[in-house]
Symmetry: C2
Subunit: 186 residues, 2 copies
Amino acid sequence: MPRAGLTAEDVVTAAADIADETGYDNLTMSLVAERLGIRSPSLYRHIDGLADLRHRIATLAITELGEATRDAMLGTAGPDALAAFARAFRSYVLAHPGRYTATIGAEFTGPEDPLFKASARLLDSIAAVLRGYGIAADEMDHALRAIRSTFHGFAALQAANGFQWSADLDESFDWMIHFVDRGLRR
Amino acid sequence: MPRAGLTAEDVVTAAADIADETGYDNLTMSLVAERLGIRSPSLYRHIDGLADLRHRIATLAITELGEATRDAMLGTAGPDALAAFARAFRSYVLAHPGRYTATIGAEFTGPEDPLFKASARLLDSIAAVLRGYGIAADEMDHALRAIRSTFHGFAALQAANGFQWSADLDESFDWMIHFVDRGLRR
DNA sequence: TGTAGGAGCTAATCTAATTAGCTAGCTTGC
DNA sequence: GCAAGCTAGCTAATTAGATTAGCTCCTACA
């Protein structure tokens, strides 16, 4: 029979799509194999098991998220850059809940880990926002963590269906952008 | 042989302790059973499977977290209440990373779900903080979500070892408390 | 056109959750 | 004090899923 001719990238993309469509927790090797038209043991020719696959999905997600926010922030500065970053971030998470969920528990294996580089690049975007607010260098790490926590928290709660109440989520998100804006001013 | 005489509560507590000690992802029915001195199928007399067990751990965690923050906030108001809430929240997560992790993906099954009630009680604590800042009623839901997102994000990232950089985490957390304080003022 | 490498396969193993059905320890009513 | 019923806990078996071993044969390249 003819070979499928797959690459590791194909496998990761298929897995990420499945995670987006059916939920990160429902991701199995069998489902990925089925979608690619092969048997699950064959996946091991391309990736190093489920843990590796999840790690790669996280890397893909952070990379894409970094690109999306970077694109959205082009030509903006100050509060506009903050809003652009925030909206792009949220759009990505809404469009790719499975990919984003993969990032929640992901840990770096070391400084050579592609996930590390992708994360650093995403943090660069946030740092650019912060410079627009004149955050001092010695506060930069703290501010980075605060911003990251805030948006990550919103995204994680939304991805987990954690918000149950009446008020509109889009409005809440806009409110939060202003909240962050006030928090960053002196 | 004599019976162990277990209750559902015993099972959940044992499981929560295991999650705290060895990591939420390493929680298995066998480990829980072993710690309780019974065989894993016997657990099903008390709980309804692993998914139910996880849900109950989340409920336990949110309940305990609600009590801890409530206690810490007693006799405080305004920015002091915010700081008291935040520090109690973080202490709990540091002491019980496994329990807290259980809450990250937990969803309510309905308004009768004990997790729902526990969450409502925790949100009450946050609402009390917000009233101290004079947040208008029509903004209350948005502000609640923003605060919750911020602290949840920090806790989730820390529980997942998501912060890798140099700066001290305690300092970052204090910085974030002030950041939130500024964000809540007008 | 021959061959080396590796993609994909089947078969088998292992771990973990879960279900079925049995046994016997407590509790309650007499 | 004792019999009956409830049910906690047990063993055995099933299922799903990840992973490993080892084979085959397609494909790229000399």
